[in-house]
Amino acid sequence: MKTGNPRHAFHRRGFLKRAAAALGSSFFSPHSGSVLAQDFPGREDRLGMLVDLTRCIGCRRCEAACNQTSSLPAPEIPFGDKSVFEEKRRTNAKTYTVVNRYPNPQRVGMPVYVKTQCMHCDEPACVSACLVGALKKTPEGPVIYNADVCIGCRYCIISCPFYIPAYEYSNAFEPKVQKCFMCHDTRILKGEVPACATECPVEALTFGKRRDLLVLARSRIMENPDRYVDHIYGEREVGGTSWLYISGVPFEQLGFPGNLGTTPYPMLTREFLSFVPLVLVVWPALLGGFYLMTKRRMQEDRAESGEPKKPEQTLEA
């Protein structure tokens, strides 16, 4: 052997290249390796829920189960009372999930019931909005919340395209953001199914790995093309959500936000944030340069007017 092992040399160069690239990206990207990693498709095994709106009978047992599991205060109107369907309700600080009733244009007298709760986005707007990292997307799939660091700015509520997170405005001392956590701490980490899904009497809710649920949803649509519209809501909306819906009525007629697009929300501010390091380096160069030009001009003016040159004197005073 005359020289060193060429494979070693190759590896070393490769390593140097990778190291330089990593170093470069950590300098020029303000959020390398953070939740915004654009090309990360999400953990393969992450969990989700499929809601089949053609099956839901509006019994609200999911609401009751959620209320109990999450130790929320008892509702003013009991869960068996159908009068709640007279008005459209939304999630609030005491209610993580609500079922609303919509008329069915195809089969009059057979209304559609829609369960609403946090969609647990794959790339959540709320997580990217949170300035203290109180909201987190777990590897398991649920988006969870740490009240111990929340400062109560409520930007998460501003950013959520589904109008889900709520705030305890009447709590003066320990107000919290409230939303469905998909029973992450209470059940999922113990290997159990979220409470709403266990209580559903008609299997309108199916809990499982998101990729399996997509296959299931697609096969239901393929097998019953007359029963379903050809759309899995949540498959691609805002980059994908853990909760997926299939329905017999177009989603726009059921109160689902339309036109959300498929871009993950964190991407909307990414371009702006990537501009930050540029401003940090360009302004000092530019303004520092202007200042030095100004300073020189002042010195020359002073010299011309016959004053003694005082190089230390600046404009401050």
């Binding site: 303000p30 959020h31 953070s34 915004l36 939304r90 999630t91 609030n92 707007a125 997580v127 990217s128 909005a129 949170c130 300035l131 203290v132 990292g133 109180a134 660091v149 929340c150 400062i151 109560g152 700015c153 409520r154 930007y155 509520i157 501003i158 950013s159 395209p161 997170p165 709520a166 705030y167 305890e168 405005y169 009447s170 003066a172 107000p175 936000p257 036109n259 959300l260 697009g261 929300y265 909307l268 501010t269 371009e271 702006f272 944030l273 930050v276 401003v279 940090l280 302004w283 000092p284 303004l287 520092g288 202007f290 200042y291 100004t294 300073k295 001009r297 404009l315 401050e316 005073a317």
Partner: protein, 386 residues
């Protein structure tokens, strides 16, 4: 006001009595807020979590406080000596604007005692608000240092003053960086709500629209407050300051005119970029045109016309008009056109308005207290030769 040793009759002016009453009522509601929660004083809801307190205090208050960085750049970095008489006032306006923006934030945050968490406890660097929090905190400190020479002259601390002065250039450049980023970041915060903000106001250019308009806002504030000092704080100002006010107002007016024109152009570009022309013939479109034509293009022309005719009165009127336009724009983005598609919206609660009036009154009294003691509208005679 409240000068020690002066008889009570002297400071019991009608202005002070009314101001004191407003402050007391506001403080009462602030106590209510901290003992019973935000629901007791605001109309904040799960759909509309931000209200008037932030629209006024943060989103309108911060751009109107761009005076410090705008004038600091002109005088210290570009050497425009003729603007030197107003630079301290501009920095004071900016400093107090940021200080009270933080006060409003403290009232509105759910747990304000954790306001330092983003700096020291838990970090969310992917959030635009994280950037806003850091930059407002840094810029507030930066402006406190920039203003400190005036305070140190008042306290007769010569050596400290010299040290503070040595920082001027660095602080000014740092201030421009921070201002560029957080003024624009306030707009960037709404990039995360494309479905909620009306498409006429939602544009990827929001950050730069916010930045550009803040310069016009800051310049207008210098003109406006300058006018007020000439009227109400004359005895605390020196002759060079008073003599310079009118030519400076004319100069700032023409600068504001150019800024407003760029702002107008970018707003039209944003409109074209989003291809939202057809929305202009809707009620929201008419409202948008009121803002665009009445509060951007009109003051742009008025400033240009008034400065070319040396009409100081018109420049001052236009400055007030522009300030109104900036407030209108920030209210539109953060309150009025936000959640525009939701039915039955409550924009704000009257108690929020009382709190705002009260805090603004405290802000004015603080300004008067400082400007009537420290060398802001005048030069300290001891240092005049420097």
């Amino acid at each position: 006001m409240l000068q020690v040793g002066r008889p009570a009759r002297e400071w019991m002016t009608p202005f002070n009595v009314v101001a004191g009453l407003i402050v007391l009522v506001g403080l009462y509601f602030i106590v209510v807020r901290f003992s019973q929660g935000l629901a007791s004083i605001t109309d904040a809801s799960d759909d509309q979590p931000w209200g008037l307190l932030l629209s006024w205090g943060l989103f309108a208050g911060v751009p109107l406080s761009a005076s410090g960085f705008a004038l600091g750049t002109a005088v210290y970095l570009f050497g425009m000596k003729e603007y030197h008489p107003v630079v301290r006032n501009a920095i004071l306006i900016g400093f107090l604007g940021y200080f009270f923006a933080v006060v409003f934030l403290l009232i509105d945050l759910g747990r304000p005692w954790r306001i330092y968490y983003p700096m020291f406890v838990s970090f969310g660097p992917a959030s635009v608000m994280f950037l806003v929090a850091w930059h407002v905190a840094l810029y507030l400190s930066c402006q406190a240092l920039e203003f400190s020479p005036a305070a140190l002259e008042w306290l007769k601390l010569k050596i400290l003053r010299r040290w503070a002065l040595a920082l001027t250039i660095g602080l000014t450049i740092f201030g421009v960086i921070l201002s560029t980023l957080h003024q624009s970041a306030l707009g960037a915060m709404f990039l995360l709500a494309p479905g909620k903000l009306h498409p006429l106001w939602y544009t990827p250019y929001l950050p730069w629209l916010f930045f550009l308009s803040s310069i016009a806002g800051g310049l207008s504030m210098v003109i406006f407050v300058g006018m007020l000092t000439q009227r109400f704080l004359k005895r605390h100002a020196d002759a060079p300051y008073l003599a310079s006010l009118e030519p400076i107002s004319l100069g700032l007016g023409s600068a504001a005119s150019i800024t407003l024109f760029s702002y107008f152009a970018l707003k039209v570009i944003a409109l074209a970029h989003g291809d939202h022309w057809q929305l202009l013939s809707t009620p929201w479109g008419y409202w948008y045109l009121v803002e665009l034509l009445g509060f951007v293009l009109l003051p742009c022309f008025l400033f240009a016309y008034a400065s070319s005719r040396n009409n100081v009165t018109l420049v001052r009127f236009t400055a007030i008009w522009t300030i109104g336009g900036i407030i209108l724009n920030r209210f539109n983005v953060s309150l009025i056109a936000f959640n525009w598609s939701l039915p039955d919206r409550q924009l704000f609660h009257w108690k929020e308005l009382v709190i705002i009036l009260s805090v603004v009154t405290i802000q004015i009294l603080t300004y008067r207290w400082i400007a009537s003691r420290m060398p802001v509208l005048r030069e300290d005679q001891q240092y005049q030769s420097e």
